[in-house]
């Protein structure tokens, strides 16, 4: 399997542990990632908050870069990036005049031919049976709270992935790896996303509810597929505990971490040792 890879800024920045673990897993599963040549930032929340045109143009340029190389599919492991890419792709597909003017703005013809996948969808495409067959260390002692956050399933009309209220795709992958999963209430609630720097209070409050609810339902770890969720729930966990006078001790794994562990990799090979919260 050969696909274009749009890492996005986070995976080449402070969330490079996410890139480490997904690369290790995908290599073992014969998936070749071809990083898009000279990709640019998708603009994230700053662009869609301050300039609607930029929030279309920046992802559109990346779509064009991928499709000009003939890629059918591209992996965007950050849900902010993948949502922005899909939103641009949809808007351009629905409006030919818009597609032409955005193509002029980004100096490349954007046809919208490349499909955008999140990491869950890529594991689904690889196949649960194949994953199951590749398991070397079943995750028997794991009792995971699968956390989707906002943008993996929303807006539903843009991302068209799983059920926006009751998603199950991550649970199915975890169960195929031998892990138990818990039913809990905050699977699709927001962790505070891009507010980490500008409004920490928001992150502390929202993420505290998520961590507390996961623990109350018996989870011994939380699994995410988003770099921003990981920053807020892992790096900010000590601050959250201090702020609310409680002690959270919830390891936060990327989906590719748990797949990697089940495939027999050591935590160090996946970058799990670089997380803030260690295994209890």
């Amino acid at each position: 399997m050969n696909l274009a890879y749009y890492p996005g800024c986070a995976l080449h920045g402070s969330s490079n542990d996410y890139e480490q673990s997904l690369r290790v897993c995908l290599e073992t599963l014969d998936v070749q990632l071809k990083e898009i040549d000279d990709w640019i930032c998708c603009g994230a929340t700053a662009a869609h908050s301050l300039n609607q045109k930029l929030s279309l143009a920046l992802p559109a340029r990346n779509l064009a870069l991928a499709e000009n190389k003939g890629f059918q599919e591209m992996l965007a492991p950050c849900p902010m990036c993948s949502m922005q890419l899909l939103k641009a792709r949809k808007a351009l597909a629905e409006d030919e005049a818009l597609r032409r003017s955005v193509s002029e703005i980004v100096e490349l013809e954007v046809r919208g031919e490349t499909q955008v996948l999140n990491l869950i969808q890529l594991f689904e495409a690889i196949g649960l049976d194949r994953l199951k067959a590749a398991v070397k260390s079943p995750l028997g002692s794991m009792c995971a709270a699968c956390y989707y956050g906002c943008l993996l399933t929303r807006p539903a009309s843009v991302v068209e992935f799983d059920d926006s209220e009751q998603p199950r795709s991550m649970e199915k992958i975890l169960e195929a790896l031998g892990s138990k999963t818990v039913d809990w209430n905050y699977r699709t609630e927001c962790c505070g996303a891009g507010m980490t720097m500008a409004s920490e209070q928001t992150v502390l409050e929202l993420s505290h509810k998520i961590l507390s609810n996961a623990a109350a339902h018996g989870a011994n770890c939380l699994v995410v597929a988003c770099p921003m969720c990981h920053v807020n729930l892992d790096m900010k966990q000590v601050n959250i505990g201090r702020h609310f006078g409680v002690r959270h001790a919830m390891p936060i794994y990327y989906l590719s971490d748990v797949v990697g562990l089940a495939l027999g990799f050591k935590p160090e090979a996946l970058g799990i040792n670089r997380h803030f919260v260690g295994k209890a």
């Binding site: 908050s49 891009g194 409004s199 790096m235």
Partner: protein, 194 residues
């Protein structure tokens, strides 16, 4: 809430919001489902349902000055659940853009405005986000505005922790063709609608 009419003509703002957000504000029948699911509603001066109502009634200036639009975390729950397919999250984006362009964001929310602006300047320069540069620029711009030493130094202890984990890059990545990025920005910032 005090209603002022100094921003510009309300009647012209609502169509602008609708065209930026590609949605029809008049479609909202005030069921409140957006506010019920909004994780920030409890802290907002004007939660989503009320913001939309302000626009329906022509009080666009009040909406542009609401703290709520900068408290919104863009989680998309409102837009996903709206039974009338009003893109409420898109309306929030449009209001933020207009509020920032007109410089009417409330002082309490300036920090968020400064962050988003620093973010865009950063990617305009580099093509990709440079985290360290962004933090420095954001901290400096908030300090110049509010002279708060505690905010300036807050999280400084995080740097060595991130370094220890090899999550800290002194020199960030840049795109090669930064000239094209600058041209894209220039074309997007000419204030015309697409």
């Amino acid at each position: 809430m005090k209603v002022e009419t100094v921003v510009s003509d309300s009647a012209s703002i609502v169509p602008l919001v609708e065209s930026l957000a590609h949605t029809r504000i008049r479609d909202c029948y005030q069921c409140g489902k957006c506010t019920a699911g909004c994780p920030m509603a409890a802290r907002m001066d004007a939660p989503p349902t009320r913001l939309i109502r302000l626009l329906q009634l022509g009080h666009a200036e009040t909406a542009l000055r609401a703290q709520a639009i900068w408290q919104c975390v863009s989680c998309q729950t409102c837009a996903t659940r709206c039974p009338k397919s009003v893109d409420c999250a898109g309306v929030m984006d449009a209001l933020r853009q207009l509020s920032a362009e007109r410089g009417v964001a409330t002082p309490a929310q300036q920090r968020i405005v400064l962050f988003q602006k620093a973010f865009l300047r950063n990617i305009r320069r580099n093509g990709r986000l440079n985290e360290l540069e962004l933090i420095a620029e954001f901290k400096l711009s908030t300090f110049l505005r509010g002279r708060s030493f505690s905010f300036l130094l807050k999280d400084a202890t995080l740097a060595p922790e991130l370094m220890k984990r090899k999550k800290f890059h002194l020199v960030g990545e840049k795109a090669h063709d930064r000239a094209v990025v600058a041209r894209i920005f220039a074309r997007c910032m000419d204030n015309s609608l697409l």
